[in-house]
């Protein structure tokens, strides 16, 4: 089984979010970048398929050279090959199109991408990629088993779960649940050393066709002070929620 895991290079979850160039660009100054958490759950599940079922695992990222430390980390975790498509990601459509080319060329059986990146939260790439390839697609996937050519997947729905069966090739929009938080791997020294020798292929983009463009960023207005209510005076809280906030 050949697996491709799509990796997004995103600011760490604790990053301060600021903008530059007249609020048109994300300010990367002092920001630590990480593997998008939803992608990392997928990558870790892919490692399980590698260990238990002999799968090969490639990773692909759409991004410029600055994404390479993140890509190297995926190799240190255990991916076999990495592909970097040498262009800045602008929108989901463009990213999906670039990944579709790589996915088609590589004839992968299973493609895993996070259900959304934690920077733009678009939630577009996995579905678009599947449709462009003509493969089956399961989003918000929290469990995945592969037996031969058949996949059994559980998807999170509003208020529950849905189990389905399908044939490979398949695209998954992954998230926590594919593996547990405690299954995530911190690369060891051997992994890091080996990652240096693994291939990181840089490929040219096929184009820059975008359908949407981020124009300007703003930050939410600062919040007013919290109103503290005495623990002995619950009636006051209920009164505020009812008459002031109109929340109950």
């Amino acid at each position: 089984m050949k697996i491709l895991v799509c990796i997004s290079h995103v600011p760490d979850t604790t990053s301060k979010i600021n903008f530059t160039e007249n609020d048109t660009k994300f300010d990367t100054n002092g920001v630590q970048f990480i593997i998008n958490p939803n992608d990392e759950f997928g990558l870790t599940r892919a490692m399980w398929f590698k260990e238990k079922q002999g799968a090969t695992v490639d990773v692909a990222t759409v991004g410029l050279k600055d994404t390479e430390p993140t890509i190297r980390k995926t190799l240190a975790i255990g991916a076999d090959n990495a592909i970097r498509i040498d262009t800045a990601p602008i929108d989901g459509y463009q990213v999906a199109k670039e990944l579709a080319k790589v996915a088609k060329d590589g004839e992968y059986d299973l493609i895993i991408a996070g259900r959304e990146s934690i920077d733009y939260n678009g939630g577009m790439v996995p579905g678009m990629l599947a449709k462009m390839l003509g493969y089956g697609f399961i989003n918000t996937c929290v469990s995945l088993e592969i037996d031969g050519n058949t996949a059994t997947a559980v998807r999170e729905i509003d208020g529950g779960k849905e189990t389905s069966k399908t044939e490979l090739p398949l695209v998954i929009g992954g998230q926590k649940g594919l593996v547990e938080e405690s299954d995530l791997k911190i690369p060891n020294m051997r992994g890091i050393m080996m990652a240096r020798k693994k291939p990181l292929n840089v490929v040219e983009p096929i184009g820059n066709e975008v359908s949407t463009e981020a124009k300007k960023f703003t930050k939410p207005a600062p919040k007013g002070e919290v109103k503290l209510v005495d623990a002995e005076n619950i009636d006051e809280l209920i009164n505020l929620l009812h008459n002031e906030a109109k929340a109950i």
Binding site: G123, G127, K161, T166, E181, L228
Partner: protein
């Protein structure tokens, strides 16, 4: 010009988010001219949509489409868009809508903006305001394609009545076997409990609850307010509560009317995930907990004393205001 909305049903009933997307489409129609057409699958009462400004309902009653199937539903909406020559399509951000929208975007070669929180600006370029960086920022996004898809964030626009009369038209939608690659085998849904996505009120518990055996306190309070129950990341990581209840950056987003956090300190990732909620209440014994900076109302106190009292008082309140 026609604006198309996907109005989701559950067991034949429209979800509240369907009325919200209809209201939103009506607001666009008022701004740009044009009418609102809804696509509804197996609705018990499609006529209901006319209360929210829908002029036409394409009602799909295909036997094959009884159960949600993202690719098949996207195909039907694609056909409907072409038939109606619609240039704007509005979907909610429910799990199912988020599942089908990217498929629809590829079918229609349409630009798709998700997590939109305001009516588009159509003066110059067509731009929408959407949340980014998990609610830590907003982003104005231009949609450059002739057909545009908007994913409207839950509870961002609200439901607005606008009585009109709607024509109900039966719509077939040509689906093929190709659209049914995914075979749903079973659905496991807690039907007697409101889901986090649909709830008006969410009661969320953190490590301060000390253990899963104390969750009856959260559940009792939730029941009083017909609320969904949720939890912080450590609570789901420790297995006290199922993953489906984890809210925050890597969990579920919450955009509810009232969010009550109990025994949750308020890590930045948690706050980001819930900040779209309208009113936030925190109950924590640590006055230094970061959640107090993000909340509207707060009680510094012991959860084990405060929750039962709050539940009891709310019961009285509900009884008096029923």
């Amino acid at each position: 010009m026609s604006i198309l909305v996907y109005t989701e049903t559950e067991n034949g009933k429209f979800k509240k988010a369907s009325f919200e997307v209809a209201s939103y489409a009506k607001a666009i129609a008022d701004q740009t001219g044009g009418s609102v057409t809804a696509v509804a699958f197996n609705a018990a009462n499609p006529q209901e949509l006319e209360k929210y400004g829908v002029n036409k309902v394409l009602h799909v009653e295909n036997e094959k489409l009884q159960k949600f199937n993202a690719d098949a539903y996207a195909q039907v909406i694609t056909e409907a868009t072409k038939q109606e020559t619609a240039s704007i399509i509005v979907v909610s951000q429910s799990a199912n809508a988020k599942y089908l929208a990217p498929l629809l975007a590829v079918n229609l070669e349409a630009g798709y903006a998700s997590n939109v929180v305001e009516v588009p600006n159509t003066e110059d370029a067509f731009t929408v305001k959407r949340t980014a960086f998990t609610n830590k920022a907003f982003n104005e996004t231009a949609i450059n394609t002739s057909t545009k898809i908007i994913g409207l964030s839950t509870n961002s626009f609200g439901v607005h009545e606008s009585e009109t009369s709607a024509e109900i038209i039966s719509f077939e939608g040509a689906v093929t076997d190709e659209n049914f690659k995914i075979n749903v085998e079973s659905v496991d849904k807690n039907t007697d409990k409101v889901s986090i996505a649909d709830a008006e009120v969410v009661i969320s518990g953190g490590r301060g609850l000390k253990g899963p055996e104390n969750w009856h306190l959260i559940e009792d309070l939730a029941e009083t307010l017909n609320a969904a129950t949720a939890c912080s990341k450590p609570v789901s990581d420790m297995g006290w509560r199922p993953h489906g209840e984890h809210v925050g950056q890597t969990g579920k987003p919450v955009a509810t009317n009232l969010y009550i956090a109990i025994g949750i300190s308020g890590a930045i990732q948690h706050l980001a995930g819930i900040s779209a909620s309208k009113t936030k209440v925190v109950i924590n014994n640590d006055p230094e907990a970061p959640f107090f900076k993000a909340a509207d109302y707060g009680i510094v106190g012991d959860a084990f004393e405060v929750i039962p009292k709050l539940t009891e008082k709310l019961k009285e309140f509900k009884a008096n205001n029923a």
